[in-house]
Symmetry: C2
Subunit: 426 residues, 2 copies
């Protein structure tokens, strides 16, 4: 059911994703119409794709009120605790604007400002996850974004997932629309009569949403387009094979394309994990998904030693990495590439997916080599500030002229020279 | 020669850039061949496009030595001063990894690490600018990137711009190749026999370079694709019209597509700036370029008042913004969107282009709404760290299970439950 392999040339197979020509064409047409016809186009596509005729695109206040009756008290309590944790973690990412004055009279600086208006896409249907609302909205709120607008597709009655609604309400989001798909991305990017255009669009979605985000990129900023999810568990003989297997399954149940990989220097551990996977799989409601994921993308990789395990992990640059090894903390400095690193036997991936505080929007498919978890920096923009006083310019003007002339840019040199002549008596 | 207009509906006209189908096809073929044939393909394209047969792709040591004889002593002195300034500014952007422990036994953190290997593209020919080397390499060095590899296209004799060579040497770059175009981007993205693949590619280039960077994006990270350059000068009656005009021309001389705009509440200032532009233009070596730029994209915009000027600037989100107004510093907090802000009459744009310290790689075409100057953050990656001790998990496990089950993800719940059962005696 799961392959057990040697480390040497193990690599994660992933299909080429550039095969969506039909979808790309459909998305282009939707975006063009939304840009031209605004709300009318959004309404028409919502009728066609979501099967519901909506007069008011906004989520009605009554739906929020009703949602609280459809979720448990425990859910609200747990959600509030998660919100607090996620806020606390992301607060630690904030940075002030700063300046750097010198004695000559120059003052340099960097102003860090929140983006003005951000759109958050939240999937509907079976992939409507309250945790997605939290993880995409909170970093924007912590960054100080004054206008956050949320979109999420409705069902055929125009209704939404109650957990998602409660999450929206708990975060204090006041502008939320029941629209989805490429038409929602178009509305956010171009603006319509009722929905103002945003500066950035974040949040997961199906292939139409992903392609629409790619298409409007440049017009607005977007977050990364996430691939299927991965976990890599490095386990030694001290690991509990049931924990390893359980954590792998929590990844595998997401999606038949998800990848759950155990890397271990212990052949014995490999056997035990495989056995535990088979046992636990039996009882899983989402067994079919998890089984297909394990069969196609799962692996237990046996390495020569822990060093080889870590080298393999660094090469794969996993989205989630669990260190279920003795003295796990000591290995932290050797992890070069990973979205989120879970340290020790109690640090199960779902702790981070929902609750601990770090973001669950993480770089997939090896992009942790150069990408980062969604964070507060993704919702700010920086401006450089340059002030040169008279003396600073007089002291340094000649050097600037030299550099400009070396590049053959005389007007650049002139801009300095004209000031030196007028003010410096040259 | 330059339009003088009212503010109301002024907007910067920019052509749609998505018209490069022929070039895109050519680039795709080049990338495919470089990926398949490595060095041989790179050599073949260098022979075809740059007109030179190269055995050794590396820039020979002798060329560096010779370069120092071709530049002036003043140039080297000025370059070293600029390097020191740019380093000092970017050092202020560095951030430490951090952690957030709590009393229950959880430790959360964020590790910030430099990218491992970065490629810097430096254009050749007339656009070979030493300042480009400085501005793209120094942030990577300050971030701590251990491997920085530079590529720049050779002339028909295999030679390079001496100023660029001196800049490379002064920065201590030891891996530099004389290759350019899409073939150089391909070599950096996929690796060849002699050039190792990188994690990110930065630096300006012509349309082939830009399209190649877009094409390999995802495989590696890239910086933004810069559009033509812009300056917006807000000037009141206290500004010196000659300074305003000189700074506008320093932008206009770059490129016929560059945009130089003065925004002023003073009709008198508008007239004086137009007059000074005409006078200074006469003497410019790059007069034709500057004139075409001013004619097509230049403007002097007369506003009702300073408030309207600032509102227009915020709407256009200029790459470079000069505040040539009385009490300029007081307006800093009202600037919402700008790549770099130059404050006061002595803070001419070339001060920042070459010397002061902030980066000259800035967001163009209104993207300052959501993008930032090139900076140290562009050369790091973050990993989240999550450690939950036993007590932290026992205290919070039920909440995590509640959230997982609310999303219908039982395996996620199981991963927590199995630990609570085994270790918590549930």
């Amino acid at each position: 059911m799961i392959q057990v392999v040697q480390a040497a040339d193990f690599s994660l197979k992933r299909e080429d994703s550039d095969v969506y020509e039909t979808e790309r064409t459909a998305v282009k047409e939707i975006l063009t119409r939304v840009q031209a016809d605004g709300d009318a186009a959004v309404r028409a596509y919502t009728a066609r794709f979501d099967g519901v005729e909506l007069e008011d695109l906004r989520i009605p206040e009554q739906q929020f009120a009703d949602a609280y009756n459809q979720v448990s008290e425990e859910f609200v309590t747990a959600l509030r605790a998660a919100i607090q944790n996620i806020r606390r973690y992301h607060e630690a990412q904030k940075r002030p604007s700063w300046m750097l004055p010198d004695e000559e009279g120059s003052v340099l600086g960097q102003i860090i400002r929140p983006l003005k208006r951000v759109g958050v896409y939240v999937p509907g249907g079976r992939a409507a996850y309250p945790s997605s609302v939290l993880m995409n909205v909170i970093p924007a709120q912590v960054a100080g974004v004054p206008e956050i607008v949320l979109v999420t597709p409705p069902d055929r009655e125009g209704m939404l997932n109650p957990g998602v609604l409660v999450a929206i309400k708990e975060l204090g989001i006041t502008e939320a629309y029941r629209i989805g798909g490429a038409q929602a991305v178009g509305a956010l990017a171009y603006g319509t009569e009722t929905i103002g255009a945003v500066d950035k669009i974040v949040g997961p979605g199906n292939i139409y949403v992903a392609l629409a985000k790619q298409a409007v990129f440049g017009q607005v900023a977007i977050d990364m387009i996430a691939g299927p999810s991965e976990i890599l568990v490095i386990a030694d003989d001290h690991a509990d094979p049931d924990y390893v297997a359980a954590d792998m399954l929590s990844q595998a149940e997401h999606d038949p394309m998800a990848a759950a990989i155990c890397v271990t220097p212990s052949a014995d551990m490999a056997v035990q994990v495989a056995k535990s996977l088979a046992e636990q799989l039996e009882k899983l409601p989402r067994r079919e998904i998890a089984e297909e994921s394990l069969r196609n993308y799962g692996a237990i990789v046996v390495t020569q030693d822990l060093d080889e395990a870590i080298a393999l992990s660094n090469r794969l640059a996993p989205e989630h990495l669990e260190l279920m090894i003795e003295d796990a903390l000591s290995y932290l400095g050797r992890i070069e590439n990973a979205g989120a690193i879970f340290v020790g036997r109690y640090s199960s991936e779902p702790v981070g997916d929902y609750f601990a505080g770090p973001n669950h929007v993480l770089p997939t498919s090896g992009t942790a080599r150069f990408s980062s978890p969604l964070n507060v920096d993704d919702f700010v923009k920086k401006s450089s500030v340059i002030h040169y006083g008279k003396q600073a310019l007089l002291n340094n003007g000649d050097k600037i002229i030299t550099l400009a002339e070396a590049e053959g840019l005389s007007a650049h040199a002139n801009a300095i020279r004209i000031r030196l002549e007028k003010e410096g008596g040259r």
